[in-house]
Symmetry: C2
């Protein structure tokens, strides 16, 4: 919490509310455009892309519970998405020796290749969508959002 | 688009991607906490709150199509939410003279009162969640997000 008392808390809380609405609007607009492009270019979805992104960071595989934990913000139906990735040959389930009920999910070589293509396109789209922001502005915004996220996670 | 070419586009696109992930994370964390509190304190949801917020700005009422247009980012099931608000006595449908198929939806006096209570709590929660940000930081972040949103809307 900020320990300096504001001269009047009324305008500050309105400023914070305005900031929240702007944050929500900016992220909503970008997300909407990324969803549209993933669908159009790759017949994919943002939750599916997020699942593949998580799996791509763990080449040895993840338990379903670990995957759900990693994806808690994106809210997709993880089980259904993994099932579809397996059917499409993009992911596979690997038995864990000594634990018959657990299985690890990981990307297949084809899944890794698919994700690499989509991730490169995704990075290009984000870069294009943020193309009006200069280097200094990006650094400032990024630092401030990092600060905000830290304080939010501290409060959890 | 930024017309100044970057010295190398590779690090800039990574910076922009990092910024997007931070934006997504910050808004996700705040949204998650607001959802939790709306449910706990008011047995309500964010889409329902958003519908009431939109209706509260139009005391004369809105057509369903106008309401859906206003709420395009929040993605809730507008028809179902309005139906529930009507059942709960928080909103009502008003016939439009001369247009038998159209109806305006508006908040009842009780709905306005409910929303005023929830909006005050919501503003307090946002202010608390952003409590670590000082006044100058809020102003800077808000201006930059405003700039980003403008450039995103221009590109649509």
């Amino acid at each position: 919490m900020n320990t300096k008392p504001a001269p009047s808390s009324e305008p500050l809380s309105k400023e914070r509310l305005r900031l929240w609405l702007r944050l929500l609007k900016a992220s909503g607009l970008i997300e909407e455009e990324l969803r549209r492009r993933l669908r159009r270019e790759f017949e994919s979805t943002l939750p599916r892309f997020d699942v593949m992104a998580a799996l791509s960071r763990y080449p040895d595989g993840l338990k379903m519970s670990e995957l759900s934990e990693l994806l808690r913000v994106s809210n997709g139906n993880v089980t259904g998405i993994v099932q579809k990735l397996v059917e499409d040959g993009q992911a596979l389930r690997v038995a864990v020796p000594g634990d018959r009920r657990a299985a690890l999910v990981r990307l297949t070589p084809r899944g890794r290749e698919t994700f690499a293509t989509q991730a490169a396109a995704h990075e290009g789209w984000v870069s294009e969508l943020m193309g009006d922001l200069g280097e200094a502005e990006i650094a400032a915004l990024s630092a401030q959002l990092g600060h905000l996220t830290q304080s939010l996670e501290k409060g959890e």
